[in-house]
């Protein structure tokens, strides 16, 4: 049996990934090292998703295997993990809309690409975005929405961020299957994204100077 957790997890070999994780910990290996391999594997999963080799089911399956791997590792961790993030993102589906799939994919992809993501969930009112921006001072804000009611809600959210004097401190991207340049201008956002990779690409570009 191969001991390669990176390969097993990134190739979505569920049983093998769990066995390797247990074996390595039982053999006395440091839990943080095993966790680092799991993280590397998820980076590969993210790349394969970006290359359209993996799709939503593969992403979700990888996430579910990772959840189990983490459950095995966590009780044995004695120190907490410090990650160096490229940047910070506050993300949510705007008020009036409860669609979460697109937002969840973006959160996943930003995470595996090195961003700290604060996911506010769905049907998030503008005031909640403002509050979180004040609290965590993100580099950027992601507004997601599938319904047309989201266009107006995106605008109201951007307006609330402006009214709170925070607009100059964050870049704002909107995402969803119906958004386009028209909606971006209407809402007053800096970018629109039709898929998660576009979001990652803007995020990297926006923190590029750091």
């Amino acid at each position: 049996m191969s001991k390669d957790l990176v390969a097993a997890l990134s190739d979505l070999q569920e049983e093998e990934a769990l066995i390797i994780t247990r074996d390595r910990l039982d053999a006395g290996e440091a839990p943080l090292g095993v966790l680092a391999d799991a993280t590397r594997a998820m980076e590969i999963v993210g790349r394969r998703f970006a290359d359209q080799e993996y799709f939503l089911p593969d992403l979700m399956y990888a996430g579910d295997i990772l959840r189990q791997v983490t459950e095995i590792i966590t009780p044995r961790l004695t120190t907490t993990v410090e990650r160096n993030y490229l940047g910070t993102v506050v993300l949510g589906t705007v008020a009036g809309d409860i669609h979460n799939i697109g937002k969840d994919i973006v959160a996943f992809m930003l995470d595996v690409n090195g961003f700290k993501v604060y996911d506010l969930g769905v049907d998030v009112p503008p005031a909640r975005f403002v509050e979180k921006i004040r609290e965590v001072k993100p580099d950027m804000v992601g507004l997601s929405g599938l319904l047309t009611v989201a266009f107006q809600a995106m605008k109201e959210t951007v307006d609330a961020i402006k009214a709170a004097d925070l607009r100059s401190q964050v870049k704002i991207m909107i995402g969803g299957s119906q958004v386009d340049e028209q909606v971006m201008n209407f809402a007053g956002a800096d970018a629109f994204c039709l898929d998660a990779m576009a979001g990652v690409s803007y995020a990297k570009q926006w923190v590029g100077g750091k």
């Binding site: 939503l56 979700m60 008020a95």
Partner: protein
């Protein structure tokens, strides 16, 4: 712009023929106009979304007004089953007045209502599973049905069934059945009102777009109604055989029921099939071929065989799936597109199926009249070339600007004439 000098009956036949020509891939007199109303009537008539959900009278009157004003070639009215849903405390939806945001239409709530280890129970006896396990999970008021003994055991003893039925006497059980009755009364009222509205609109010269209940790709039924997204996607890996077996069980049931409920009144008799997980990003080509396409194709071919016209709504981007749809028999389907590139779709499936789409909702909401005309022109010129095209929007135009919608309707009727 009322078409002068024609009787409603003449207009009805003219509009129907126009649409039928587009579907059969012969050149109609002009591009048919099909505004996908969604919840547009709320804004148009100043109704709240809660009223739209709960008051059939107001909702239907508002839609009637929109249709009379826009004079579409075919029309469809969304359902407003708020009171029925309320009566059984439906868990699969959130709507204004029932946990949903006040300013949006009803929205589906993803959930796992058949657990990973329950496939066998479903497959062994679907009806029993649906009544004793599934209904109590999706309808709050039907929780007491969990306590019923096996329905087979209850009634297999012939005359003993009469005395076994004492299980129905419990007050909680009675309440459960009463809630179903209440939902049924509301549903019937709404259905009768809708039927009367259809009749009236028909007498005014407007053909309906769809002739029967909505149907769904078998994968979407399993994923949306039973397993939840997470569950269904994990099943592709962990229990593909069960997933496929459940879809095989569902397809013929759905076909038989849907066909029986469809009123074949004209040469089209279209059936709306909103697709969910077949879109490009949602699964790989191999997953689509294994889990999605066979069931969807089976459904569409079954409908075509019954003389009906499947109209799948390909929500999201289906660009990479276009070649599969080219397998369908010629002139028998309408492919209603959302964000798929229609100009490409015309090349790949244009000689097999009628294409409907795809005015961006963003333009109808916050564009300018010129932008709306410009995009319409492009659609008519390229996708409408030689027929086989129905003008509609990229989904329900819930929040569209009525003035822009009027511009869109007028332009399509003027510029869309085949000369």
């Amino acid at each position: 712009m009322m078409e002068m000098g024609k009787t409603p009956d003449e207009l009805y036949r003219e509009r129907l023929k126009r649409t039928e020509d587009a579907i059969r891939l012969t050149v109609p007199d002009r591009v048919p106009f099909f505004p996908r109303l969604g919840f547009f009537a709320t804004r148009y008539a100043g109704l709240s979304h809660e009223e739209a959900m709960n008051s059939s009278d107001k909702w239907l009157a508002a839609n009637r007004r929109v249709i009379m004003d826009l004079e579409p070639d075919i029309y469809s009215i969304s359902e407003n089953p708020g009171k029925s849903w309320e009566a059984v405390d439906l868990k699969q939806m959130r709507w204004p007045g029932h946990g949903g945001p006040a300013n949006s239409p009803y929205q589906f709530v993803d959930g796992e209502h058949l657990k990973a280890d329950e496939y066998d129970a479903f497959l062994a006896d679907p009806t029993d599973f649906l009544i004793r396990t599934y209904l109590p999970r999706i309808f709050g008021t039907l929780e007491p049905l969990q306590k019923l003994p096996s329905l087979q055991a209850l009634f297999i003893g012939g005359y003993k069934g009469a005395t076994s039925s004492s299980v129905f006497v419990e007050p909680a059980m009675l309440q459960a059945f009463e809630s179903l009755y209440k939902a049924g009364v509301e549903a019937r009222k709404a259905q009768q009102q809708l039927a009367a509205t259809h009749e009236e609109l028909e007498s005014q010269g407007f053909p309906r777009a769809f002739a029967g209940p909505n149907m769904f790709a078998p994968f979407d039924i399993v994923a949306d109604m039973f397993r939840g997204i997470q569950g269904a996607m994990m099943d592709m890996y962990r229990r593909p055989d069960k997933l496929l077996a459940m879809m095989d069980e569902i397809l013929p049931v759905q076909l038989k029921d849907g066909i029986a409920k469809t009123k074949k009144t004209d040469g089209i008799s279209a059936i709306y099939i909103p697709l969910h997980f077949g879109a490009d990003g949602f699964m790989s080509a191999k997953q689509f071929e294994t889990f999605y396409w066979p069931g969807l194709k089976g459904l569409m071919l079954g409908l075509i065989e019954a003389g009906l016209t499947p109209c799948p709504f390909l929500e999201g981007d289906f660009s990479s799936r276009l070649p599969y749809f080219a397998e369908l028999p010629k002139g028998k389907t309408v492919l209603y597109f959302d964000s798929t590139d229609l100009f490409r779709a015309k090349k790949i499936v244009g000689d097999r199926a009628c294409i409907a789409g795809n005015m961006p909702l963003s333009l109808l909401q916050s564009g300018t009249p010129d932008q709306v005309r410009e995009y319409s022109k492009k659609l008519i010129d390229v996708v409408g070339k030689d027929g086989g095209f129905i003008m509609t929007s990229r989904g329900g135009m819930d929040d569209a600007n009525p003035e822009l919608v009027k511009v869109w309707a007028d332009f399509t009727k003027e510029y869309g004439v085949y000369r």
